[in-house]
């Protein structure tokens, strides 16, 4: 396809001239621009989150090291980094990038719509998220610094103003409150748009699995963030307005009797994890949809068991609301509740297992094209397996009593929620970059980035499994001064720190590739990957309004036939699938 002559600059990013155009673009309600803005925000956030993780890794093994600018750092600094690393990564990266960024950009394109259902709400959602991020980052710079009670903010530690949890803690709560509002605003679009704005012929069962994932994720977002919003307000009231939701009577903190009575620390845990567990699926479901799509495209085979994938997505979304108590097996919660949460947790492993089987089934018998997005998608599957297999172990209450609060858990959720999800985001970025900016990313750099990151991530997180087996508790600022039996584990911790630095350095390759390719990448054309879903029917980047004329959909989302020529049958073409 020839490029329209009006698109000299395929990325469209530098096309804006004059301040009016810039402002107009920043506050555009076009879903594609909003998507890219979310992507930029999460890119800034992931850089901050990664920098914090490197600081943590240094402090664990070299607690006395004098750092540039920061100088001598303390255990409470380490805890502030832990808290902010978790918070930034979970909210501003894992929630923002796969759902808000990619979903916003692609969902209307993939269902044949010109816009999101509520474009102005969408715009408000982004700027509210940006505000939330600014408030969160401000926590570093206020007296007392960022909060130290961990991203799960267990009460009563987080509920009582104290040196480590001073003004920074209040900013944390306010930021999360704003983020909740932003997320609910965003999620309404993701639910309504695919239900109301699909092009002719796009039945629900012809939708790409990405669209299914974004829709189910949005339902989770709307329900769970509403609860977190309530909990955040309650926490703020406990801190400043004399309420007693989470603080029991008779507490003595730093020698001072606390004037509270009647609250329940467990109430916070229930409310937090009622949000917190669906959040795990909010982070991973879009990645599952992305990976299904990419595996299918580059295996030149239909997604194996499309219907089962849809049902599994919905099942995971539903069951995701019933498992929060598995974070609380040793909290002192009722032992019968432990049984129930354990059972549901083991059941939720079933749809996840079905998905894994189907990913392998998609590739089996295909004609694999190992492009960079495909490599990252395969990496996703590998991490999903490595992190997933320990889920049923942790779901056994008896085993959980030993493994809870150790590095075993850290490894488990990082492999799944961070590495698998992260590889889903990388795969998506390499895959849809040509659509977003009209140019291809460099394949050689992409492969180098993949190999180092894949090995590096495993080098970081696999050893954490055995640290956990050796009973190494998490969130320990340093080994020096902690229990004697932990001291021999220092070499493993050092190894992990070195691996973390190498892996982080490899991300510079990605950044370079990203920004270099914006201007100098090969021109992509409409459908560089010979894919079947609707976003590949329009120009790269898409014209305003997405499609010159609204497409009609003739078939399912993944009609590949590896033995035929051509081996793919796009959704928007009327010809017969089989010759």
């Amino acid at each position: 396809m020839k490029e329209p002559s009006s698109h000299h600059d395929p990325s469209g990013l530098t096309a804006a001239r004059g301040s009016d155009r810039v402002v107009g673009r920043l506050f555009s309600h076009d879903h594609k621009i909003i998507g890219i803005e979310y992507l930029a925000l999460s890119l800034i956030a992931v850089a901050a989150g990664m920098a914090l993780s490197l600081l943590m890794r240094i402090h664990i093994v070299w607690p006395l090291a004098k750092l540039p600018i920061l100088g001598q750092t303390l255990p409470e600094d380490y805890l502030a980094w832990v808290t902010m690393h978790g918070t930034i990564m979970v909210f501003f990266v894992l929630t923002t990038a796969p759902q808000s960024a990619l979903g916003n950009y692609l969902l209307p394109l993939q269902i044949g719509a010109r816009e999101m259902a509520f474009p102005w709400l969408n715009l408000a959602g982004f700027w509210t998220t940006a505000l939330s991020f600014l408030v969160m980052m401000a926590a570093f710079f206020v007296p007392g610094g960022a909060p130290i009670s961990g991203w799960s903010q267990y009460t009563p530690m987080s509920a009582i103003p104290a040196p480590g949890d001073a003004l920074g803690m209040d900013l944390w709560i306010v930021s999360i409150g704003i983020f909740c509002i932003a997320s609910v605003m965003g999620s309404i679009n993701f639910i309504v748009t695919p239900l109301r704005s699909r092009a002719r012929g796009m039945s629900l069962m012809r939708m790409p699995l990405t669209v299914w994932s974004w829709m189910v994720t949005a339902v989770l977002t709307a329900l769970s963030f509403s609860v977190l919003f309530g909990a955040a307000i309650m926490l703020l009231c406990d801190r400043h307005f004399g309420t007693n939701f989470f603080v029991p009577g008779g507490l003595v903190l730093s020698g001072k009797l606390i004037d509270h009575h009647g609250g329940s620390p467990l109430l916070w845990q229930h409310l937090f994890w009622f949000f917190g567990h669906p959040e795990v699926y909010i982070a991973i479901l879009p990645g599952m949809g992305t990976v299904s799509t990419i595996l299918s495209t580059f295996s030149r085979r239909p997604v194996f068991g499309y219907r089962a994938m849809v049902y599994a997505t919905v099942a995971i979304g539903f069951l995701g609301f019933l498992v929060w108590g598995h974070h609380m097996f040793v909290s002192g919660m009722n032992i019968y509740a432990v049984d129930a949460f354990s059972a549901v947790t083991l059941v939720i492993a079933v749809p996840s297992s079905v998905k894994t089987v189907n990913w392998l089934g998609t590739m089996w018998g295909g004609r694999l094209r190992l492009t960079t997005p495909m490599l990252f998608a395969i990496g996703f599957v590998s991490f999903f397996i490595s992190g997933g297999v320990t889920g049923p172990l942790l779901a056994e209450p008896e085993l959980n009593q030993y493994l809870h609060g150790t590095y075993f858990v850290v490894s488990h959720f990082h492999l799944i929620m961070a590495m698998a999800s992260g590889f889903g985001i990388f795969a998506a970025t390499y895959y849809w970059f040509p659509k977003m900016f009209g140019r291809m990313m460099n394949e050689t750099l992409g492969r180098i980035h993949f190999v180092i990151t894949f090995l590096g991530a495993y080098a970081i997180f696999l050893p954490m499994y055995v640290l956990g087996l050796a009973a190494h508790p998490r969130r320990y600022a340093q080994l020096f001064g902690s229990a004697d039996y932990l001291q021999p584990l220092l070499p493993i911790q050092k190894f992990i720190t070195i691996a973390a630095f190498i892996t982080a350095a490899a991300q510079l390759i990605f950044l370079w590739n990203f920004f270099w390719s914006l201007r100098h990448g090969k021109t992509a054309g409409e459908n560089p990957w010979q894919a079947t879903t609707l976003e590949w029917s329009t120009a790269s980047p898409p014209v305003p309004g997405n499609f010159l004329e609204l497409p009609v959909i003739y078939r399912g989302a993944y009609e590949f036939a590896p033995a035929n020529d051509p081996d793919f049958h796009p959704q928007w073409l009327a010809e017969e699938a089989e010759k």
Partner: protein, 266 residues
């Protein structure tokens, strides 16, 4: 690239298995229930480790085998039988793991606490305190406003209460071997978790609430305790030791301590 990727996945899979088998990573076992834990853990680990190895090897095999499209399958895009089979197998395996892994433990919760030795554990930023009921067998009352470690009353014992006067407060958990010990856990400030790796167990100490932990230690010696719930800047150094004594040694320790406390109370 296909060869490289397949080899990478293969190496990671085999390397992981080797790492787990390299040595016995868990600390030495100190109790019967810890032995039961190790058994359950190893059975579960073999199953899930098998699933891990099988899936990763399959992934590597697929990457290698279908690299150039010479083994194209026109065939199925869904095999309901396979999906259903995978579902049934996974469900059976996971539920079996749950059932054997203590999912129904609450129905057979140990009721042996009648003969048990009762000790109260209190978590404080950043230390553990242990309280014994003293000669009268009764824990005396506590008033939070009396808490002051600098005058030797870290738990806020109300000395006007006769039952409190002979209570023994220790910074070590001293227990007899082979006798059930019931710990009652409290916290003065924030949530802590009392973690005894050698007994493969832990329980949160929650302010405003009482939680329980039942021990029965078979090995005489010293055991380390950590805190596994983030509790503040000293979290990493919040530790304690359990001294497990023979019944005779324990009786001797108890007599000395109790007599000492009683003398102080006079």
């Amino acid at each position: 690239m296909a060869l490289l990727l397949a080899v990478l996945i293969l190496l990671i899979a085999l390397g992981t298995v080797a790492m787990f088998l390299l040595r016995h990573w868990m600390p030495a076992v100190a109790s019967g229930s810890a032995l039961a834990f190790d058994h359950q853990f190893h059975v579960s680990l073999w199953w899930m480790g098998g699933a891990f190895l099988l899936s990763q090897l399959l992934l590597a095999l697929i990457v290698w085998r279908f690299r150039n499209g010479k083994r194209l399958r026109r065939g199925a895009v869904a095999i309901p039988f396979l999906e259903l089979g995978a579902m049934v197998a996974a469900t059976a395996l996971y539920l079996w793991m749950g059932a054997t892994g203590g999912m129904f433990a609450s129905t057979s919760a140990p009721a042996e606490s009648a003969s048990a030795l009762h000790i109260e554990v209190t978590g404080v930023q950043f230390a553990w305190y242990f309280r014994y009921a003293g000669a009268d067998g009764k824990f005396g009352s506590i008033r939070p406003e009396l808490i002051d470690a600098s005058v030797g009353n870290p738990l806020g014992l109300d000395r006007r209460d006769p039952a409190a006067r002979d209570d023994v407060v220790s910074s070590q958990l001293v227990i007899p071997a082979n006798r059930p010990v019931e710990l009652t856990l409290h916290s003065q400030d924030v949530v802590h978790s009392f973690y005894i790796p050698q007994m493969r167990t832990q329980m949160n100490a929650v302010p405003g609430m009482t939680t329980h932990l039942l021990l029965n230690v078979s090995r005489i010696g010293t055991i380390e305790v950590d805190c596994t719930q983030l509790c503040g800047l000293g979290h990493y150094r919040m530790k304690a030791v359990v001294r497990v004594l023979s019944p005779q040694d324990f009786a001797a320790w108890k007599n000395t301590e109790f007599a000492h406390a009683a003398a102080k109370a006079e």
